[in-house]
Symmetry: D2
Subunit: 305 residues, 4 copies
């Protein structure tokens, strides 16, 4: 069991930290919101495996493993700067492992890894998918970039918070795979949305049609899980458009950094940006359907079949 | 058991006709190629449930059910004109059912249905998915447009050639659903292709990355069945680019006829057109990967991670 | 001066026929609307150079030059069938020239040319640009496909209705150039629309910004003629979205027939389809701006600069 | 006449600084390359109106107006940090004007303006278009963001290096207009490229076709200046793909910061990225034609018209 310093106890980080404490680790958490820290203490139980730290420095000072779960690249850079300062001050701190679960730019992940190496931190980028439900259940999928030895050292952490995890390449590779994942997910929503609009406006039984699609080569996890709610126009998140928009920004940046051209991703990014511009930022990403609908006016099937 | 007149004994039609004969129907087939008709006779066995007709007129004269499986809209229009003439000549022909399994424009399907009604033919549009393998195994998916009573009457035919089938709306609806299916399938290939190129050019282990995608919300039948062959650049069809290109033409027409705008479908259609223009028409549709690769030059990962 | 049979006296055809009569030609016109024919008679003046014919057959029977100006490919095919019948009946009719000013599919233009050759008609496809104003002023641009000798023979006609005209290739080539023209025009509107939305939502003085664009490498006829009306959201046609939508259908077909992939055109076609689906079919094509605005919600500049 | 500190004497900056010296200003330039500074000294003539400074600090210490012309946002941030340090040290330095001619993110322009205000610098963002030729001739177009009084104070500088210049809004607005400009320019190249490929592959005389387009509503500065070189496949820059790729990155960022969705820009950015990925980074941006050609294979017109 390890001493873990955990920074970022938000919607995702909070249940992940709790799961680490339940798995027997000693988790010292820090967040700028007090209730988030109180929840960790409660989750840690009478054995005190959850503890709140008044600052980032306090959280990481004695940690064997440092974990962050933050909104975006700038926050990771800021928090890392604090981690760096804290580690440099406490000369005797154990040579440690730093796992960043945030979804950020591959480039930022690489530069944090390089900066970590300079102060004796072995860094893994480890973005997750599975959402809040997966974080609570401890069944996240984790895409890991870094060294194999470090990946092996991090296994107990991954096992406590996730169900599927794999090393997919050197530092930054986890973020690239997450970017690829978000391109495919966003694009599939857009395609399913177009299929729905085409069928509905053509006077077709869209439910029966989607059932056919779901059963054949067009089948996907999204059709399986979301076709009923999309047909019913229920867009309660789930994963918010705002977050997918952020992730598409990362994906487009990642493509640029890799020097690759991705026409589908370029269009998907703009459609998701439209969802946000239209005011649907806090709806589920399946609300991409509303963008395709808006392109096609408000009218229903025109009756001419 | 019915007397079935079957026009179009090609790659798909031939095994479908054979399955109908094996299921006990009497199938009189016609094709412009003699070997195709010989195969049907052989499949009909010693009981003579497969028979070759020298003309379309002979094939349909006494049929209770007429079936066509043809390449595209113009062929369906031509063959239907012959069917019409034949039916008008043989005044005593049974009031019949006409099932068109071809993938054609919804608009053509609707006009054939209207023209069929004028001569006492009840028409179903019933495009399939599942490819040659599905046709041989009798496990096709069938999307049916037409009247419910006619759909019920056609069940024995569908059961002999398919595994999943559903009535999805009035005439033309089967074709609309097939169009929607091809949009989603083509688009998913393009998205997976972009994911692969992004990962490979970023120095990521693309196999491990695709495994992660396949296991999460990005998961799809295509990732399940095709990721290994795509990574290995094996593009033996399967379903040819040429055919998917034809189907995207139908999909774009269907959107136009329905008065809907589908930006993703518009781009996917052009990417598939590019695959054909680049000379990959006879490869599997997963060869869309070659288009995304060509956009990105011939170079491999540039080593800068 | 020639005897001209003119079929299709609509918004474009009517002033074109009048200009031919004014230039000294004898124009026998036919249209399914009587007032259109009355206008031609009036335009022909006391010399009787404008005359109304009760049928297509009457209009073309004695014509040295046949001219059509029709909405789309099917109408050209129908009218040509009538022309063909009329010419076959009147055995002594002069070997003639047939100029089709309609904007139709290149493929249809080629098949009409081939069918014309069989009955001794030398055919030119000659789609125009310049709109109603250009038709009235006799300043149309004319893109001509066909044989050089026929192009030379048609010069007096082109000079009466147009200002710029050129032979751009064999039959069908005029239509291909018109298709290319509509791709560039539609695409430029979409680009200018995006420029406007970006500037306005960023708190920029869009008028001053467009002035800068118009004066540099981004400059275009569209920026020159339409930026003020676009900024003022005045979308009185001009050239209607419905017609540009029809033309994009031709352009996408032309690309398909030529075996080429055009990603920009594919997207532009869908954006124009969206304008129509949103109910803007009878507005000027510059109303593409409304589609880009709709993608971005109704809100104005958010004040955060 | 002003004392001007000029940082960044590259392809653009060098002739701009020379033009300022020729106009009578005293220009103290700095660049990390010595020959660039030697050229400025030479351009300043015997009157010594061009001088080289060994450091940024030396260049700006006594300047009434500071000017930068740098490759991208990070360089502007770095140089500004040095300017800031130098100004804070020399307490008596004149309250000054800072004009940044670089093309950078609007967001960076806004933060530099805010940071400048804190140290008494009034900042204008003033990206240019017109290329090396325009810089040498002193005929650049300049899009200026900032306060009107500062714009007026900067007029003598703008008059020495440019021909057209306008205040288009508050800080950052100049960059937004430049971004809009690059979207329209890049998109127009892509549209013209598609027009060329469609015409050539259809057996049309593309030169005659482009002449028609250039004379009508499809006309543009690009068609006017570049159609001959594009037809001849001469792609000597001019403005390099690499730079336009950089600018599209800024444009996509600017749209994201403004919260707007721009589907055409999204696709254009990827096509330009493809040009770079295919190895054409150092060619003129009209080489976008090579991307559209590559999508369509190597074959010429297939002879089927």
């Amino acid at each position: 069991m390890s001493r873990i310093g955990f920074i970022g106890l938000g919607i995702m980080g909070s249940p992940m930290a709790a799961n680490l404490a339940r798995a027997g680790h000693f988790v010292v958490g820090h967040d700028h919101k007090q209730p988030a820290m109180d929840r960790l203490v409660a989750a840690g139980g009478p054995g005190g495996r959850g503890r709140a730290a008044p600052s980032i420095a306090d959280a990481v000072a004695d940690a064997e493993i440092i974990v962050t779960m933050l909104p975006d690249s700038p926050q990771v850079e800021e928090v890392f700067a604090d981690i760096r300062t804290a580690r440099l001050r406490s000369a005797g701190s154990p040579a440690g492992l730093y796992i960043d679960f945030s979804t950020i730019k591959p480039e930022t992940a690489r530069s944090v890894a390089a900066a970590g190496a300079e102060i004796g931190l072995r860094v893994l980028d480890a973005p997750v998918s599975g959402g809040e439900a997966g974080a609570i259940a401890g069944t996240l999928s984790i895409m890991v970039g870094g060294e194999e030895a470090d990946f092996d050292a991090a296994r107990p952490v991954f096992e406590a918070v996730g169900k599927t995890f794999a090393l997919v390449g050197p530092n930054g590779a986890g973020q690239v795979v997450k970017a690829a994942n978000q391109i495919v997910v966003g694009g599939t929503y857009a395609l399913v949305a177009e299929a729905i609009v085409l069928m509905e406006r053509s006077g077709v039984d869209a439910r029966a049609g989607l059932d056919m699609l779901a059963g054949g080569l067009a089948g996907s996890r999204i059709l399986e899980l979301k076709r009923e709610t999309m047909l019913a126009r229920e867009f309660k998140p789930g994963f918010r458009i705002d977050l997918h928009h952020k992730d598409m920004g990362i994906a487009i940046s990642a493509a640029r950094d890799a020097g690759v051209a991705l026409p589908m991703a370029g269009l998907v990014a703009q459609l998701i940006a439209a969802a946000r511009a239209q005011g649907y930022g806090s709806l589920d990403h399946s609300a991409l359907l509303k963008v395709i609908e808006s392109l096609n006016g408000t009218g229903a099937f025109n009756g001419q079949i």
